[in-house]
């Protein structure tokens, strides 16, 4: 740039150029100032309007007692908790269903996408049928169908389907035994630390030997020995570290264990099945974008189809897949707000729903909720962009 500039600019035009820089800076400053002014005007307007209507404003309510129950909470929550805590509970529930949904949808979508390109006629057509059905039915209907349709056919808690008397399925959800840490948990924690340390040392040693002599040293065998030995020591000293908390029928429902409520299951399933159909098409497009010559070359080299898919096709397809995949992940997270229809306590339901109705401060609560979704989306996009840069063609930096 500098060379080009000095080459074509005479001293006179340089000063004009300087004027231009100043003028541009001035325009930028004016633009920024008017933008800030507009924001300030909007904010003062909001405050004045709310005061004129005698509606309380501010975020003080976050420290007040909420006073209502929430069906599912990943952290300690009861009726005495604050609205601030309701926000966190709702956010964690949103994250739980979104993250689980993203993982499930990716797995299913990937399998379906590959299946649709299968040489096997039946598999390809089945995958195509799945994709066309699921992506063309509105998500809300799918959620209702999965929720009410499946729930209707499940028995009441006292007639639960039982699996080995430890896992129970009924219309209150799925109840599983929970692991609770026993008295000897600390001893086992020490064992785990020792094993990690041993693994690290052994691996370093193996790498050093490989570097120095080119010999492969198997470090798994001694590591396995160390872990077994220390586990035996711990077991003989303190017994089993964990106890099973087996659910028992008491009163109206099972107590103990961990429970997955039907609202979570239905929402997770609906989000995954729906988004998987879109991901499948993205995967198909990605694979189709890899030149046919690549798979021909791979098979000419004698690579079997699965190997060629794994090491030749997919790494190249990923470059096309990742960017639209990010959009699907964002969609899934945002679609999780449909939870409100079937009483899954996500952030929209408990914070922008119940809390809003109790507190009445629509502006603050909706704004907070919007900002949280924005932050979640930007974070997802950031992580996916990092991954995208990692898989993208490494070109020469100019």
């Amino acid at each position: 740039m500098d060379q080009w500039r000095s080459a074509i600019c005479t001293p006179r035009s340089l000063s004009v150029f300087g004027e231009m820089v100043k003028r541009r800076a001035l325009i930028q400053i004016l633009l920024l100032a008017s933008f800030l002014l507009a924001i300030g005007w909007l904010v003062s307007n909001v405050v004045a309007n709310l005061q004129a209507q005698n509606i309380s404003s501010g975020f003080g309510f976050l420290n007040e007692r909420a006073g209502f129950g929430v069906a599912q909470s990943l952290i300690e929550y009861n009726e005495d908790s604050t609205y601030g805590r309701v926000l966190v509970v709702g956010l964690l529930n949103t994250l739980a269903v979104s993250i689980a949904g993203i993982i499930l949808a990716s797995l299913l979508g990937f399998v379906l996408g590959v299946a649709r390109l299968s040489q096997n006629w039946i598999i390809a057509k089945l995958a195509a049928a799945y994709i066309e059905v699921f992506r063309n039915i509105p998500l809300l209907l799918q959620i209702f169908f999965l929720y009410f349709g499946v729930l209707r056919n499940l028995p009441s808690p006292r007639q639960s389907f039982a699996l080995g008397e430890v896992v129970f399925l009924n219309n209150r959800g799925i109840v599983l035994p929970a692991l609770v840490s026993g008295a000897g948990a600390v001893a086992y924690l020490i064992v785990a630390l020792v094993a990690v340390a041993a693994a690290w040392i052994l691996r370093k040693r193996a790498l050093r030997i490989f570097r120095d002599t080119g010999q492969h040293v198997k470090f798994w065998t001694p590591l396995f020995g160390i872990i077994t030995l220390s586990l035996l020591v711990a077991y003989s000293a303190v017994g089993l570290p964990f106890a099973w908390d087996i659910p028992v029928l008491k009163g109206f429902n099972y107590r103990g264990g961990v429970q997955m409520i039907p609202e979570f299951a239905a929402l997770l399933l609906a989000l995954s099945l729906y988004t998987a159909a879109f991901i499948a098409e993205i995967v198909r497009a990605g694979i189709a974008s890899v030149s046919h010559g690549q798979s021909e070359a791979a098979s000419a080299l004698g690579l079997p189809a699965p190997i060629s898919l794994r090491y030749v096709i997919i790494p190249q397809a990923l470059r096309v897949i990742i960017p639209p995949l990010t959009s699907q992940y964002l969609n899934l997270t945002k679609n999780s707000s449909l939870a409100v229809a079937i009483a899954y306590p996500d952030i929209v339901s408990v914070f922008a729903g119940t809390s809003l109705s109790q507190v009445g401060q629509a502006v603050e609560i909706i704004f907070t909720t919007m900002m949280i979704y924005l932050a979640l989306s930007l974070l997802t996009a950031y992580l996916m962009n990092r991954y995208n840069n990692h898989t993208a063609l490494v070109g020469r930096n100019v």
Binding site: N45, G67, A71, F148, F252, V359
Partner: protein, 343 residues
Amino acid sequence: MKHLLWIYAAAVLWTQPVLAADDTLALVKARGYLQCGVSQGLPGFSNPDDKGGWQGIDIDLCKGVAAAIFGNADKVRFTPLSAKDRFTALQSGEIDVLARNTTWSLGRDTSLGVDFTAVNYYDGQGFMIRKDLSDGDGKAIKSVLQLNGATICTNQGTTTELNLADYFKSNNMTYEIVAYEKADEAIAAYNIERCDAYTTDQSALYAQRLKLTQPQAHIVLPEIISKEPLAPVVRQGDNQWSDVVRWTHFAMLNAEELGVSSDNVRAMRNSRNPSIRRLLGVDGRFGQALGLRKDWAYQIIQAVGNYGESFERNLGVNTPLKIKRGVNALWTNGGLQYAPPVR
């Protein structure tokens, strides 16, 4: 209705600092019809009928207000609102009056920028269960106190959730709540046994029971765990408008007390009773003082009848709901419904 929140946010952001909500009556007159916020379908209070019209005591109140203003009870449009969107709709000016079986409480009265007018139904929160529901020991459930550990369905964004929490906590009981955005989904979930019990205002329990597959297989437990005075709501700071709504209800009460009904209101204009003459606008200038037509109360009673008529038509023992007057009887009959005199 989700759009409502966005519209509201946009309205608050962009409007001039003083929202044009100070003179609702003039606004309604200029517009030519009343915009009334009602429920998404609660039999007896506000429910669409098979002809596409609306029925219920809240509907009658709105029609009464329209009749008092325009002399025509049909000049009203209804906006169905979910429990959680209702106040936002009122605050934003989307509706002029919220007649949506809404509980009057101190918190709502002071922090939402709204005013409650007059209680048009005294209610209380109750519980509905299946007749054959039994506790862990196999004993039939006869009381809410036996519901320890039960799963309970309800509507989201109501005082119901708070009362439920308070009641169970004060009785050292636990519960699991499943709160739906719409009453229809809550009752559907209860119907397929997602919950052991369904809780909401007792009048609404009787109404919602009609939507179940086998209404007679369910009972409403005797306990009432809260006071739920249901009142029409207006925006705070517009006293003339809140007077109009409040006195619409009072006119219907006074009419019942004075024996004026939709059948005899025309003849009653010739009555010699000064109270009736004042109520019907034959004597005095009360209508003009309210900013309404002279015969405002006459128009109300002619259109929707007195309070007793409205109650019996929508909720009473001859309707599927079969609700007795109870505390909603006139004070002269031992109830709580009492209106200040027109004088």
